[in-house]
Symmetry: C2
């Protein structure tokens, strides 16, 4: 695992942001970089403890909190009462399968320049926006 970004790359990203490189943080961030399925805390915990127990649930929570604070990770809240995490911090949209709950990243240019911001009340100061597309994924038809 941890194939997408090299070990030293992950270490650099953490260090650059003033974070200590602990095995737990490394495992959490490495795992997130390695997958695109927007896992929950439990899924991350299961993945990184698969071979040998390395982190507690509380540590995964705090690692994710800190990673989010420094901008390496973002939360994805869709439906259900679970928070999902994503190491893709570039702007993008999401597709959510109504059946299995799978989440798929969609390209940012899906929207292009089609947004007509003039229709938003001027009293609202817009800083970002993103699309949530719902439907059924390939495996659920």
């Amino acid at each position: 695992m941890v194939s997408k970004a090299v070990v030293s790359d992950i270490r650099d990203r953490l260090k650059t942001r003033g974070l200590r490189i602990t095995p737990q943080r490394f495992a959490v961030y490495g795992n997130l970089l390695d997958r695109t399925d927007h896992p929950t805390v439990d899924q991350i915990l299961e993945a990184i403890n698969e071979e040998l127990p390395i982190a507690s649930k509380a540590s995964v929570y705090t690692a994710l909190t800190v990673l989010r604070e420094v901008g390496l990770v973002r939360e994805v809240l869709l439906d259900e009462g679970v928070t999902r995490y994503d190491a893709n911090v570039q702007p993008h949209h999401h597709f959510v399968c109504a059946d299995c709950g799978a989440i798929v990243d969609l390209p940012w240019n899906l929207l292009g320049d089609r947004l007509d911001l003039s229709q938003i009340p001027p009293s609202l100061d817009v800083t970002s926006y993103e699309l949530t597309v719902r439907g059924r994924c390939g495996g659920c038809e």
Copy 2:
């Protein structure tokens, strides 16, 4: 209260969908129709019990569940770990204030049908989509 939709109108909507008209259901749906701020369960509870206690929290939960099942109400999940409710079931987008958490409905034609679906993988069967716009609202600048 319950000014937007007339009392008999609310009764009809509930009856049409096979729902018994209980004071609790009536109050919950009437309150939701009367506001556009996407309240939480606690806010609805507080509002309908303001003058005289009429419903328990559990009843508000079950009323909302049933109202959602028959399509009179929808859930709005943004951030924070709270579910908000909306009696506006027409397609529309949302603005969320990053400071105070206020939610404002945005018109559907902000985006309309101008989504470039060709960029979505054909294996994904799209049934709906909506935009979440973030920023700062008038009161929070």
